[in-house]
């Protein structure tokens, strides 16, 4: 009896679903983006604004008439920051609507897993501001694009900044720097660079790991209280950042001496600490919170005023929202570049998208045109340099909002390049990859 009922229910559902599935959703020229997002779980407070910004820019592109008339379409899939779910999402979405154009997982773990699959599926993996630092080398990592920033570059800028504060690199000798990091591949990325820099300038680097998700840091901060480092670098994500700030307050470590990476420098990290985080500094991956920028005003006007925006209005222009927006913008612009070569107003494939990403050239005029003037600097990528821009600056929390407090810095090529080459050569050897030559790039 029970079984019969179940079977009846199941067949009903099946009939309904087949109806839903066959609804045609095909128009002529559409560019499909699989969206791997996380709006639940331990890292949701940070994942949500990023995803909203990302989505809003795609919507804005459509409101502006698409890229030469080609509409952006997308489908979201929730990864929960879990690698296996992320891979499943990717597999599910990559073939839909004629194939995914590019994928941005916003998770170092998922990035590592997708790096394996990208060359097979021919879908570029864009990791604006995260992922492997050595994937900047396009010769080995043909399908990875750590656009606008890698962790090594970020750490390098931080060191430059404290050197400037101290009055020169030679003054760093004997200083103590502590790195409080998320105990995962993400948090460990900057260590190699910081060790290199520590060797160069003779400062003392101590490493303090914090276990996922980072809600228990008492011992870490007791150690900081004991060692009294001159600077603390914070390489956290999600709740770990606000906890670190609270513990810093509880142990009386001056927040002015704390510097976060760009993933530790947004509103969710400081919001519920409030005044306790006053004076805390963080890297700005080019942009900071940009409520006054033109693009934000355009989004408010074209999307949110009509009730088509994603997420709450107050979020538009916040740091992580802008990060999502810029990540989205970069891929849309790459589509534009690729269309320039492979046919305007046509859908492009993942392989053509890669060409677009490798020939991205956003000058000041282009940025101004998009309403991003003053938000970021020009970006120019090439076949061998998948980062495109190595500039960053520092912003500081004043208890209510983020303000820029430094000039632009550029990551030092003399330090970064050899490290990137060495690490990517090792990867190439491990995975038996033959690096691309400049001739290959011309294809």
């Amino acid at each position: 009896m029970k079984l019969r009922k179940l079977a009846a229910a199941a067949s009903l559902v099946a009939i309904g679903l087949s109806g839903a599935l066959t609804t045609p959703a095909f128009a002529a020229e559409e560019q499909f983006f699989p969206l791997l997002v996380y709006r639940t779980g331990a890292y949701a407070p940070n994942g949500v604004p990023w995803a909203n910004g990302f989505l809003d820019y795609l919507k804005l592109t459509n409101a502006r008439g698409g890229v030469n008339g080609v509409k952006m379409i997308w489908e979201e899939c929730e990864t929960g920051y879990a690698t296996d779910r992320g891979v499943e999402c990717y597999e599910r979405l990559k073939g839909k609507h004629g194939g995914g154009t590019a994928v941005q997982p916003l998770s170092t773990g998922i990035t590592f897993a997708l790096t394996e699959k990208a060359p097979v599926d021919k879908i570029p993996v864009i990791t604006a501001g995260y992922g492997r630092s050595e994937s900047q080398n396009g010769a080995v990592f043909g399908w990875n694009f750590p656009l606008v920033g890698t962790y090594w570059m970020g750490a390098d800028v931080l060191v430059q900044h404290i050197a400037k504060k101290e009055g020169g690199f030679d003054k760093l000798k004997g200083k103590k720097v502590a790195l409080v990091y998320h105990d995962s591949p993400y948090g460990k990325e900057p260590i190699a660079l910081l060790q290199e820099r520590a060797k160069m300038h003779g400062f003392d680097l101590s490493l303090l790991p914090v276990a996922h998700p980072g809600v228990e840091q008492k011992a870490t901060w007791l150690q900081i209280r004991q060692n009294k480092p001159d600077y603390v670098f914070l390489w956290g994500w999600g709740v770990m950042n606000s906890t670190a700030l609270k513990e810093a307050q509880a142990t009386g470590y001056p927040r002015e001496k704390m510097y976060g990476v760009w993933w530790a420098g947004a509103e969710p990290d400081v919001k519920d600490v409030g005044d306790g985080a006053k004076g805390y500094n963080a890297l700005a991956m080019q942009h900071g919170a940009e409520p006054d920028s033109k693009v934000v005003k355009e989004i408010l006007e074209k999307l949110h005023a009509k009730g088509q925006g994603t997420g709450p209005k107050e979020e538009v222009g916040q740091v992580l929202y802008m990060r999502g927006l810029i990540s989205s913008m970069l891929q849309v612009e790459a589509v534009r570049v690729a269309q320039g070569r492979y046919g305007k107003g046509k859908r492009i494939t993942g392989e053509q998208m890669r060409w677009g990403l490798e020939n991205l050239d956003l000058d000041q005029k282009a940025l101004d045109g998009m309403g991003l003037g003053g938000v970021m600097r020009p970006v120019k990528t090439s076949c061998l340099d998948h980062m495109g821009s190595a500039w960053a600056r520092i912003h500081t929390w004043d208890g209510k909002k983020w303000n820029f407090t430094s000039d632009w810095y550029q990551g030092d090529e003399k330090v970064l390049r050899p490290m990137v080459m060495l690490a990517s050569a090792k990867y190439a050897e491990e995975k038996k990859i033959k690096p691309r030559t400049p001739e290959d790039c011309k294809k």
Binding site: T40, P45, V48, S206, V210, V215, K218, Q249
Partner: protein
């Protein structure tokens, strides 16, 4: 020396906070033999309720007073936890009486999923704030004795006091009230308790309610310390070594266990950590518990289980 004392104190205070969560485990295990893996999810759920209601209630009623708002939110959160407790008993555990430990453990994990999902659906998955007026800045003590003094975290100190208060009131409840005695009777022997007319179903609901309230207190303290969001549910994992060290069936065990674990993990991290690369506190806590277990397999204060053939 001063630093050692500081670490010790810090350890004792985190230990008290672990005990708060551990208490929830012990209460339920004692009365129903369920190893409640959902305790962490209950802490999160309670904290979310508290945080959100203290935000919503002033909006609804149009008042400003933070204290009254918090009080009302607390009351509502208590009611919410009672409903949760009742539902858990009514919908799940009632049907699982007399199952094996492992089955019950899995059932509570299932409940944890449900609570996580419902909590985030109703209350949202952003990071929220509980502001019960906890002081955040540290104070220095004994400055005349040690150079630089000893840093005491006022917030932790108050939290530890609240934990101690909760334990005392729970002890009174268990020792002096009729319901408390009935609870202990059920814990000792289900069938004997039933035969003298103690209604098992109701007792279990009460136990889950009490566990719900400890979850709420733990949630408020941890939430005001860390901010309320999903990761709060993972502190249950930090409380597990406390429970097995203290013994699954002992309330004082949860407190002593908490203190031992708190001190052990902080001292190990600070003094041993730097030599092996740091980040050892979580497994060290488990190892510590394990070492104790090797000498007393039922925990420090747990009841000795006698196997009969």
């Amino acid at each position: 020396m001063a630093f050692f004392l500081e670490t010790l104190l810090g350890g004792l205070m985190s230990g008290m906070l672990y005990s708060l969560v551990a208490l929830g485990f012990v209460l339920i295990f004692k009365a129903s033999g369920v190893f409640n893996f959902a305790q962490g999810a209950m802490v999160l759920f309670a904290a979310l309720a508290m945080a959100r209601f203290s935000e919503w209630i002033p909006d609804w009623l149009g008042m400003e007073n933070l204290f009254v708002a918090n009080l009302l939110a607390f009351a509502v959160a208590v009611v919410v936890m009672f409903v949760v407790a009742w539902l858990i008993e009514r919908l799940a555990l009632r049907y699982l009486v007399n199952q094996e430990g492992a089955t019950l453990l899995m059932a509570t994990l299932g409940i944890a999923y449900v609570l996580d999902g419902i909590g985030q659906t109703i209350f949202g998955s952003d990071i929220y704030k509980i502001d019960v007026g906890m002081p955040k800045d540290p104070v220095m003590m004994l400055e005349s004795v040690f150079e630089g003094g000893i840093l005491i975290n006022k917030e932790d100190f108050i939290a530890a006091l609240i934990a101690a208060l909760l334990v005392i009131s729970l002890s009174i409840f268990f020792q002096k009230t009729a319901t408390g005695r009935a609870l202990r009777a059920v814990a000792d022997d289900h069938q004997a308790a039933q035969s003298i007319g103690i209604p098992l179903d109701r007792i279990w609901v009460i136990v889950w309610c009490v566990a719900g309230i400890t979850a709420l207190v733990a949630g408020i303290i941890w939430g005001s310390k860390l901010g309320v969001q999903f990761s709060l549910s993972t502190i249950a994992l930090r409380a597990l070594p406390v429970v097995i060290l203290g013994g699954l069936t002992s309330v004082p065990g949860a407190i002593i266990g908490g203190l031992i674990i708190g001190v052990g993990e902080k001292l190990s991290e600070v003094y041993l950590g730097p030599y092996v690369g740091g980040g050892i506190e979580i497994w060290f806590a488990y190892m510590l518990a394990l070492v104790f277990l090797l000498f007393r397999p039922q925990g420090l204060f747990g009841e000795k289980i006698i196997d009969r053939v």
